[in-house]
């Protein structure tokens, strides 16, 4: 059974609508289950074919059954209906089924509104600049469809519709900007929607086992970007402190249960450097800062071991101002409990390393000597820095130190801390990032996941905790020139840190600068930023009432300007070059009582008027009337010369 489609839904318009909506749905194709993507594609193609062939649509009963079937299917796939992914899948399926019901103008309009909805669901997954441009294009097409459905005449030419849609969107942009800047922002969420898992986000974690950091180093993803208030410090000073790891179980190092910092046992020298970090979401609580962070942050706590922990996991891009001291001494009065924790080692692992440590301990008199001899060991023996280290077994420290000798920063840091503890020197692992690439375009530092790093801190009595980076002993290049200079040629490296061609690098920097600006000014426009902007605009204590007033005022102003622009086109009379002299002629004769009567055409009128005129004027009038009729109603193209002749003739006619 099939039901016919209303006449005003011409094939072209229906196919254009299907195509535009397919473009909106397309980015979802990889996010929804395959079976839904296949059904959606099949339905869209089928609908387009039905439109082409002018065939009727399936009966509503079949559609209801399909709808129920797909709801059950989604429930089975996701286990629920109202999480984000399931809701998007459901929306895609409903859109496709509604297509099968596209019979009237009303259905088309509902589909278009659904299309706008689907545009916004794409932003739940990606808010990048290219995605924004793509979806802006989609909005343009959908709006053109809405325009097309308002045409009452057969209008096969889509260009005026596309032009009008684009024009109207362009005219809407100033209003959009005003609203975007001034609409009072509320910090979401409004209700406790289950947040989608952020498992796909990469970043450091509170544990480190062999391979975890080297995996991270293969990622291009940006960890954070930094704007310095002053010239940035040298690369070898850029240790971005993250999770501090204390506990070792033979394979994995773990942090956790960090107590908030209470003491003030910190001595600093020099002025702190100030900078602002824009941290990408990583679903963990760490906020990164250069060693040693000098200030506390609102909404974050500082632990005893100088980690900055956000109250809630960082699930959205976050921007914070920070300052750090590069010269410092801290932890001289470290509690005994902590020192004992920094000496703990599991029994029964890595006997050879323990023996080596015992030898070193016997030969050294101070902790510093132990440190120096281990670093000398790393430097002296054939250790290699590589991103693809061999697999290690149960006694992984032993195997690394005495057999493979190939490793990544995590291997060096872990072995170093193990040896320190075995030799009786309190030590811990600090993970984070090291270095960063300065983007000359935009002048900020990019720190990528590939810059993930692990180093050690040893406790030296009165000196407190001292940073030792064993990787620097093996591969000074890693610290001075970044990871790309440190790994041997042939090792896999993420595309973004390669340094092959200069123009490619420039292109990448420009792109990152654009993405950064986008993040800062569009995606990062939060309620706080809105208030800051108001402050800068002169409001001393901005609140939402100020915003509402400003919004109204500026909106009215912009709308008034728009109105004037549109009205200007309304009033503009493009004078008809043929008609205007003729009107002058009519006015001339009306003055002497020979004006045209209602309904009198040019020929009759000029004939009648000519009879009342002296012979010469009558001749001229007839000539002018002939010329006018030929120019205005004739088939030939209007020639400028003849128009000029008409104008001259009218001017010359004396009555």
């Amino acid at each position: 059974m099939s039901i016919p489609v209303a006449e005003n839904l011409s094939t072209g318009r229906v196919v254009a609508l299907i195509g535009s909506l397919a473009l909106v749905v397309a980015p979802h194709a990889v996010r929804i289950p395959l079976w839904i993507a296949l059904i959606a594609t099949a339905v869209l193609i089928l609908r387009a074919v039905l439109a082409w062939q002018g065939r009727g649509l399936p009966s509503p009963r079949l559609l209801v059954m399909l709808a129920i079937g797909s709801i059950v299917g989604i429930w089975l796939s996701f286990g629920m209906l109202f999480n984000r992914d399931a809701a998007v899948a459901l929306l895609v399926l409903m859109l496709c089924l509604k297509m099968m019901e596209l019979r009237s103008l009303r259905d088309a309009v509902v589909l278009i509104l659904l299309g706008y909805f689907l545009v916004i669901t794409n932003f739940l997954y990606s808010q990048t600049l290219p995605m924004a441009l793509y979806l802006l294009g989609c909005v343009w097409l959908i709006t053109a469809c809405l325009v097309a459905f308002q045409y009452r005449s057969v209008a096969p030419d889509p260009r005026p519709m596309l032009r009008l849609s684009g024009l109207m969107l362009a005219q809407a942009i100033p209003l959009m900007l005003v609203f975007f800047l001034l609409f009072p922002r509320v910090q979401g969420p409004l209700w406790g929607l289950p947040q989608a898992s952020a498992s796909a986000l990469s970043g450091l974690s509170d544990s480190m086992s062999p391979g975890s950091l080297s995996n991270l180093s293969l990622s291009d993803a940006v960890a954070f970007r930094v704007e310095f208030d002053s010239p940035p410090p040298k690369p070898n000073k850029l240790y971005w402190r993250g999770p501090v790891l204390w506990d070792f179980d033979g394979r994995t190092w773990r942090g956790g249960d960090a107590a908030p910092r209470v003491g003030r046992d910190i001595e600093t020298a020099g002025t702190p450097i100030r900078y602002t970090i824009t941290l990408e979401p990583h679903n963990m609580r760490w906020l990164f800062a250069i060693d040693l962070p000098a200030q506390r942050l609102e909404g974050a706590l500082q632990t005893q071991d100088f980690q900055l922990l956000s109250i809630r996991p960082v699930r959205a891009r976050q921007r914070y101002a920070m300052s750090s001291y590069l010269d410092y001494r801290y932890g001289a009065n470290e509690p005994r409990r902590n020192l004992a924790r920094a000496l703990q080692l599991p029994e029964g692992f890595n006997p050879r390393a323990r023996k080596l440590a015992a030898d070193l301990y016997a030969r050294s008199s101070t902790p510093d000597e132990v440190v120096q001899s281990v670093l000398a060991l790393f430097r002296g023996q054939p250790f290699y820095y590589t991103l693809v280290p061999p697999e290690l077994g149960r006694d992984n420290i032993d195997e690394f130190l005495f057999e493979t000798r190939r490793g990544f920063c995590e291997h060096y840091a872990a072995s170093f801390v193990f040896l320190m503890r075995a030799a009786g020197v309190p030590a811990r692992i600090v993970t984070g990032y090291q270095g960063g690439v300065l983007n000359p375009i935009g002048n900020y530092l990019i720190v990528r996941q590939s810059e993930a790093h692990a180093w050690a801190e040893v406790w030296m009595g009165d000196e407190g905790w001292v940073r030792v980076d064993p990787t620097a002993a093996v591969s000074p290049m890693r610290i001075e020139a970044g990871i790309a200079g440190a790994v041997p040629a042939g090792d896999p490296l993420p595309l973004m840190v390669r340094t092959d061609s200069e123009w490619l690098k420039r292109l990448r920097f420009s792109w990152d600068a654009a993405a950064n600006g986008w993040n800062q000014w569009v995606l990062g426009y939060t309620p706080e930023r809105q208030m800051q902007m108001l402050q800068r605009a002169g409001f001393t204590r901005p609140n939402w009432q100020n915003l509402a007033v400003a919004l109204m005022a500026v909106t009215s102003f912009v709308t008034a300007i728009l109105c004037m622009l549109l009205l200007a086109r309304l009033r503009r009379r493009v004078p008809d070059p043929v008609l205007s002299p003729w009107l002058v002629l009519q006015a001339k004769l009306t003055r002497i009582g020979l004006g045209p009567r209602p309904g009198e055409g040019p020929v009759h009128w000029s004939d009648r008027a000519a009879t009342a005129l002296p012979a010469e004027a009558a001749d001229r009038l007839r000539t002018l009337a002939d010329l006018y009729v030929r120019l205005r109603y004739g088939r030939d193209r209007v020639k400028g010369r003849e128009v000029a002749e008409l104008r001259r003739g009218v001017r010359a006619l004396r009555v």
Binding site: R152, G188, L562, L566
Partner: protein, 320 residues
């Protein structure tokens, strides 16, 4: 023009010019309100806003506000689509009662943009749409059903548009000086024509032959070319039509008074109308006698229209 009761009433329900010239939809005369779709669009924007807030979607805000701006822009465009449009009465042909009276209206667009999907509707008529190109005119018509004979004024009608997005409807109520002559509905069937009467004999033309020349009159469109005075035209004069009289043998009087007594007014008019049409079709010269009006015998489109008009406007109280 009906007198306005108060300035407020004038403002709310403006009576608009019924002059002979064009009526221009000045800005003050164009009203605008959201359509059902416009309200749905607003609800959609509201939902998008809630979603953007809940998920802290910056681009969600961008889209929401872009669509809100689009709504405002659409309102201005819809309003402009109608503003300063000028309307002029067009041609109206007489119809028989029961048929639709088609009132042509000329829409003139003096603006520099095309006006798309301009609709006109009256209370009793379905809407009609047309596009008016920039600097051009277009014709549109309203078809009103007719029930009674006589003059049917177009009355107040509505010009409206929802273009370009259908979110808003702009409209203006207009009255043009335009009316349609509605002839009586002819009686169904073919009632036999009255017999030729002897009245022709009294005119003294009897015996001069059926096709005797009676004189010349100005040419009217619809006159048979056979009756055009071509020789006179060749002498350089205007077109004239030869008139013939005395076709006594086929002349018939359609007389109100001779109809059966039990016939009501409208029944008589229906019968006479049918007869006029039949006589015209038979090319039988016919005259019409009404209580206060008499149309001398004749033939041709003009004559037929004269008769039908007399029938349409017949006033039992004796107006004319």
């Amino acid at each position: 023009m009906p007198p306005s009761t108060s300035p407020v009433a004038d403002w709310i329900l403006p009576h608009q010019g019924t002059g002979h010239g064009p009526v221009v939809l000045t800005q003050r005369r164009v009203y605008i309100l959201p359509t059902g779709l416009g309200l749905l669009f607003a609800v959609t924007i509201g939902l998008l806003l809630i979603g953007s807030i809940n998920y802290n979607l910056s681009l969600g805000y961008v889209l929401t506000f872009l669509l809100a701006g689009l709504g405002v822009v659409a309102m201005l465009h819809t309003w402009r689509n109608l503003a300063r449009l000028s309307l002029r009465p067009g041609r109206v042909s007489p119809v028989y009662a029961g048929e639709h009276a088609v009132f042509a209206i000329t829409l003139e667009n003096h603006a520099g943009f095309d006006r798309i999907a301009i609709g006109v509707s009256a209370e009793a008529a379905t809407a009609a749409y047309t596009d008016v190109a920039a600097q051009a005119a277009a014709s549109i018509s309203i078809a009103l059903p007719t029930a009674r004979r006589g003059w049917l004024p177009l009355g107040r009608f509505r010009v409206f548009t929802t273009f370009p997005l259908g979110l808003f409807r702009a409209w203006s109520n207009v009255e043009l000086d335009e009316r349609c002559l509605v002839y009586p509905q002819p009686e169904p069937g073919e009632p036999p024509l009255p017999a030729a009467t002897a009245i022709a004999g009294e005119s003294g033309l009897h015996g001069r032959g059926a096709e005797d020349f009676a004189g010349l009159r100005e040419y009217h469109p619809g006159d048979s070319p056979r009756h055009v005075a071509w020789k006179a035209y060749a002498r350089g004069d205007q077109l004239l039509t030869k008139q013939f009289g005395g076709r006594a043998s086929s002349e018939v009087w359609l007389d109100w008074a001779l109809l059966p007594g039990h016939f009501g007014v409208e029944q008589r008019l229906a019968r006479l109308t049918r007869w006029v049409l039949m006589a015209e079709a038979d090319a039988t010269a016919y005259g019409l006698k009404l209580p206060h009006r008499e149309v001398p015998p004749g033939l041709g489109t003009t004559h037929r229209e004269t008769c039908l008009q007399a029938l349409a406007l017949y006033d039992p109280k004796g107006g004319r």
